[in-house]
Amino acid sequence: MSELRQEAEAIAEQFSDHTDVDPDDVEERLATLVDEYRVPLDEASRSVTNSYLEDAGMERDELGRGGSEEVLVNDIDEDEQWVDLRVKLVDLWEPRSDSISQVGLLGDESGTIKFVAFETSDLPELTEGQAYELSNVVTDEYEGSYSVKLNRTTGITEIDEAIEVGDDADTVEGALVDIQSGSGLIKRCPEDDCTRVLQNGRCSEHGQVEGEFDLRIKGVLDDGETVTEVIFDREATEDLTGMTLEEAKDMAMDALDTTVVAEEMGEDVLGRYYRVTGPTFGRYVLVDEMEDPGTVDVESALIEARSI
């Protein structure tokens, strides 16, 4: 089958739920553009699709992506793909914008992925903990992280099935070469659902507030080839440094300065090797588990190095 014919049938298939489109007719229109007018195939395909949309009085996002593929969330690695998912709604977050109706985390056995549903799509509300078959969702990419967008054509079917949500944690190992600013003893905004870290006593959303103390380390693990930014939350920081929040507060009180805490922590952890495991959010790996990689096996290192 020619490339043109394939494309023509794909376009016809997209319209199959809405209106009768003859693949022969599509192929002819494509052929005119591609063969006579030297229009690239993807541009030709776009233009032909648009003319059918206009004829049918339809919007582009009403189009089914004729038989979009059912995929696992962790296999999503391309922008703007139409896919089907069988997932459980793991977590709902507070939308940051009025245009968003729901935002949160979907999961299947391969891991989890962020999803966004928009007010304009008029979709039924999803419930936390419920399993769904979602058809026609579109993948999106931002700085290497993938998410899916629900849209007006998304089919939502509740399913009575237990979906085990897999662990998509990453493991990184390397030397801790830097502790970034905003580490050590920090203050967070106490407002409901706001956990922003205060800058000079101010929250970027709520202004001057009486902050609540917390511990965290934003660090950099470096294995000589790549750098990974990692965040230790309070528990992980206490585990890593052996310093509790109370001890950190006492230390800052004695010094009349909170920065001594990060400095003291740096003494204990900079230049050491760690292996950490946790989910990736944006640029950061959030540390769930941390191990000291221990004593190196010199003999196997030697065998390996000689074999390179």
Binding site: Y142, E143, A175, V177, D178, V220, D222, D223, G224, E225, T226, V227, E263, G266, E267, L270, G271, R272, Y273, G282, R283, P293, G294, T295, V296, V298, E299, A301, L302, E304, A305, R306, I308
Partner: protein, 222 residues
């Protein structure tokens, strides 16, 4: 947390013998603030290094203000580390440390030309911390591996930094591979002797490497 933060430079793993030969520096753009890279003779650019060794000596070589020089020895040679008023944490660390001690250093390569035209390579530290023997051993194993990997890729087509190294240096990358393997072999032997006792404090790994290293003619300008 805006996503446009520039990517952080990786800290290369390189033994002292190779690092001290990395006297050629370059930038990747004409921008005044473009990062400066030292060219490793095994064919890699290096804007930052991470190493672990034994601090054997430290001295305040400053005139008006404190300017600390530390000698940090690895199985192949000696790193020279300079920290002054613009590296207050590293400087105070050098002031406080009692040699011999295992230390881990993150820092930037700096070159300095002596009066007789010799190029000295030193390290301007971002951090210095005292560590244990297990960390040192892990670094030696890791650095040996990275070094051997760089040498193995030296003749790869399209290895731009290897091409640059061939042009700028008259140095055989195989010597660094030999040094890396011998560092690892020494570690293997000392492992056997200590029978797993990883906490042998303050034993400089190799003395012959320090003695044939002459001091830089003077401290670079702080």
């Amino acid at each position: 947390m805006s996503g446009s933060a520039p990517t952080r430079e990786v800290a290369r793993r390189v033994f002292a013998t190779e690092f001290n030969d990395a006297g050629y520096t370059f930038t990747e753009s004409d921008d005044e603030r473009a990062p400066v890279y030292a060219l490793l003779p095994t064919g890699e650019s290096s804007n930052r290094v991470f190493f672990v060794g034994t601090l054997t000596e430290k001295e305040d070589v400053g005139d008006d203000s404190e300017y600390w020089r530390g000698r940090i020895v690895d199985p192949t040679g000696t790193f020279f580390v300079y920290a002054g008023q613009y590296q207050p944490e590293a400087a105070s660390k050098l002031r406080d440390l009692e040699p011999p001690a295992y230390v881990a250093v993150v820092g930037k390569p700096r070159t300095y030309e002596t009066d007789d035209g010799t190029v000295r390579v030193s390290v301007r530290p971002e951090s210095i911390t005292e560590v244990d023997a297990a960390t040192r051993d892990r670094w030696v194993a890791e650095t040996a591996r990275r070094t051997v990997e760089r040498v193995a890729a030296f003749d790869d087509e399209g290895n731009e930094y290897a091409r640059m190294a061939r042009e700028e240096y008259d140095l055989d990358p195989q010597t660094y591979k030999a040094a890396a393997l011998s560092a690892l072999e020494d570690l293997d032997e000392s492992d056997d002797e200590l029978a797993g006792d990883g906490s042998a404090d303050g034993d400089p790994p190799s003395d012959d490497a320090t003695s044939d290293e002459t001091d830089p003619a003077g401290a670079p300008e702080p």
